[in-house]
């Protein structure tokens, strides 16, 4: 079965420190990988995606993500966290052989404290 795991329900980090939000997946083939952010009572906003090529993908608001094929992971990172980064982050996967579906993780709540 296809699945996406975000092993941490919550990540706490101090402002100015680096942050990592983890994502691993169990999807056949080499899927397309995405990160979205959701603020309270809002829809999802696109951050970045991995299609092919360089394993380090840069996205919006200073975020980047590292694709690791052997570990089937796509961790979201930022070198220096801001209080305004506090939100709910979702990893999503789109299989190449069944691209009409998106699979989302359960979400990780990021708390950045001043």
């Amino acid at each position: 079965a296809q699945s996406v795991a975000q092993p941490e329900d919550q990540v706490n980090v101090a402002e100015g420190n680096p942050l990592t939000v983890k994502c691993t997946y169990s999807v056949s083939g080499n899927p397309y990988l995405f990160w979205y952010v959701q603020y309270p009572n809002r829809g999802l906003q696109f951050l970045l995606k991995y299609i092919t090529g360089d394993n380090l993908v840069k996205g919006s608001y200073g975020f980047e993500a590292e694709f690791n094929k052997s570990q089937t992971s796509f961790h979201l990172k930022k070198p220096s966290a801001l209080v305004s980064d506090s939100a709910l982050y979702f990893c999503a996967v789109r299989p190449r052989d069944n691209f009409n579906k998106f699979y989302f993780g359960s979400g990780t709540k990021l708390n950045v404290k001043p």
Binding site: G43, L44, S106
Partner: protein, 113 residues
């Protein structure tokens, strides 16, 4: 550019009733997908439509149906509402290729009493 729009913003229904949610995609986007997001969980895929045809369906009962119109807007219908249908319903639009990003609307918050 106007993003994905959804209406209504909030909706309260009682068990057994029927509901219709509406979505207008970003101009130029031909694909619309629907998701259900229960509080505390990630979005669950319900349907994808492209050029008025259903291209994908998630694991939802037949009480859930959708359609896409010639202008690419879409409706999601849910019949015989259950308490468990209470959720945020998200619509996303994208261009036609499989690598395209899905852009989400603000959602419709459905409460079933």
């Amino acid at each position: 550019d106007t993003g994905v729009t959804q209406s209504p913003t909030h909706l309260i229904k009682t068990r057994g009733q029927q509901v219709t949610l509406r979505c207008s995609p970003i101009s130029g986007h031909k694909s619309v997908s629907w998701y259900q997001q229960v509080l505390g969980q990630g979005p669950q895929f319900i349907f994808q439509y492209y050029e008025k045809e259903e291209r994908g369906r998630g694991n939802f009962p037949d009480r859930f149906s959708a359609r896409q119109f010639p202008n690419y807007s879409s409706e999601l219908n849910v019949n015989a509402l259950l308490l468990g249908d209470s959720a945020l319903y998200l619509c996303a639009s994208s261009l036609e290729t499989i690598t395209d990003t899905q852009y989400f609307g603000p959602g419709t918050r459905l409460t079933v009493l």
